[in-house]
């Protein structure tokens, strides 16, 4: 096993891995915002649909979600005649976005609910509109409470990107498998150790970034400690 050739080869797959992570991060965030809004503001049918979506994203293994997206969505878009659009990479992005959105909305909703009721009432009594209330009063506090959970969600997302290999996306894991096969499967343990190091560094970077924002966020919030919630992974 030669680290000097292996690591550059693994790095060639890193842009795709990061792209999948980034798309899922952004799209998942938007999905989570919509879902959380639907669940907080009670609209008869839509909020129960949102609840169903959240329980799907949280109680079904991510591999299975990826497979459902990979086999299910082509049938859906075939109605519009765009089935060619569905490469494994796109399916991976969409599947992980669905997963991340559902998981994240369970971080956002408790954070929103944890903001003191009196703050809502005070903003309402001052005649703030809903948008003003969200941007100026409730939002910053909810962000502060949600940040630790958001950091965990991002780390689990990065972990789960390791699974997109199984629906045929050519990410770091898939490249590692190619390398292993080329070496006649002699150095599997060592190759996985290298992968473990790469993923650990990725998670460390995410953790440092989130930590920076966690340190900064209290300056908008007077004396409200972050809600201590136990983090459990979602796989």
């Amino acid at each position: 096993m030669d680290l000097k050739t292996m690591i550059p080869e693994l790095m060639t797959a890193l842009p795709l891995t990061l792209a999948i992570t980034f798309v899922a991060m952004v799209a998942g965030f938007c999905l989570a915002l919509i879902t959380t809004t639907l669940r907080v503001v009670h609209i008869p049918v839509l909020s129960s649909l949102a609840a169903l979506y959240v329980s799907y994203a949280r109680s079904v293994p991510v591999v299975l979600q990826l497979f459902v997206t990979f086999y299910g969505l082509p049938l859906l878009v075939a109605i519009f005649g765009m089935a060619d659009f569905f490469t494994p990479n796109v399916a991976a992005m969409l599947g992980l976005s669905f997963y991340h959105g559902g998981y994240l909305s369970e971080v956002m909703r408790p954070a929103y609910l944890a903001v003191d009721r009196g703050q809502h009432d005070a903003a309402d009594s001052l005649g703030y509109t809903f948008r003003q209330k969200m941007m100026g009063v409730v939002g910053p506090q909810a962000v502060h409470i949600a940040l630790p959970g958001y950091g965990n969600a991002l780390i689990y997302l990065a972990h789960n990107v390791a699974l997109v290999m199984y629906i045929g996306a050519a990410d770091v894991m898939a490249t590692a498998h190619l390398i292993m096969q080329r070496a006649y499967n002699q150095y599997q343990f060592e190759t996985y150790l290298v992968l473990a190091v790469i993923y650990s560094i990725m998670c460390l970077i995410i953790w440092v970034i989130v930590r920076y924002f966690e340190r900064r966020s209290p300056m908008y919030v007077p004396a409200v400690g972050p809600a201590k919630r136990v983090a459990m992974p979602s796989l």
């Binding site: 109680s59 299975l64 972990h159 199984y166 150790l193 136990v230 992974p233 796989l235």
Partner: protein, 230 residues
């Protein structure tokens, strides 16, 4: 798409994998809770060297994706077992260890890091004033733990422990990578045999959601019934 006879056949085949999945989840849950509790107690008592070891363990197992932990276990454990057995003079071929045992060990190692956090959170929720009160009434440490602390800590931990059962169920689905047949792997096999992929996966989704619903409901009931007498 979605013909009734294929759905029925798929449901029967995929359901047949449920008992084994639940069994593996139970074993993983028991062992990871025991290891996690030991970790949490060591942290609670602030034992010098153990504390640093546990911190390193948590950082390592939270940073590495579970698939990679499972693969590392799959390729690394059999030689290790063989080596350890040879140290105590037993000639044991580690490569004969069943795959599901390796899967359970890998998942247990990973989940234990999170269980430690769950138990630590529950321990932290315990009000120290009650410990002082019990001591002033002359309770010994053992009595304090058994009569005052344990019942409250267990109830505080129930929601997170339920969550972790579901996490374990989902984590076991990665066993298909090392040829362990659980609900997800069985749905893949069924699909590969009759080429109705989406149908088999949708059935697996429904089964997972039903199990999650049942587990949460049961845990809620248990928590409510226990809260009455504390």
């Amino acid at each position: 798409m979605f013909e009734a006879d294929i759905l029925l056949e798929d449901i029967r085949e995929i359901l047949s994998a449920v008992p084994f999945t639940l069994f593996m989840a139970l074993v993983t849950f028991v062992f990871s809770t025991i290891i996690g509790s030991l970790f949490a107690l060591a942290e609670y008592r602030n034992i010098p060297i153990l504390r640093e070891f546990i911190f390193a363990y948590k950082v390592a197992f939270k940073g590495i994706p579970l698939v990679i932990v499972i693969f590392l276990g799959y390729y690394g454990l059999p030689p290790t077992i063989q080596f350890l057995a040879s140290l105590i003079g037993i000639n044991f071929n580690g490569h004969h260890t069943p795959n599901w045992v390796l899967l359970v060990i890998g998942v247990t190692a990973c989940i234990a890091a999170f269980q430690a956090e769950v138990i630590k959170g529950a321990l932290n929720s315990f009000d120290n004033g009650q410990a002082d009160a019990a001591r002033s009434l002359g309770y010994t440490n053992g009595q304090l733990f058994r009569r005052v602390m344990f019942p409250q800590v267990v109830i505080a931990a129930i929601p997170d422990l339920t969550n972790s059962i579901m996490v374990i169920m989902k984590a076991l689905s990665l066993g298909f990578a090392i040829e362990v047949v659980d609900i997800f792997a069985q749905s893949q096999l069924t699909a590969a045999l009759n080429f109705y992929y989406l149908e088999a996966f949708v059935i697996a989704v429904v089964i997972y959601m039903i199990i999650a619903f049942l587990v949460t409901t049961a845990a809620d009931r248990l928590e409510r019934s226990l809260r009455v007498w504390t």
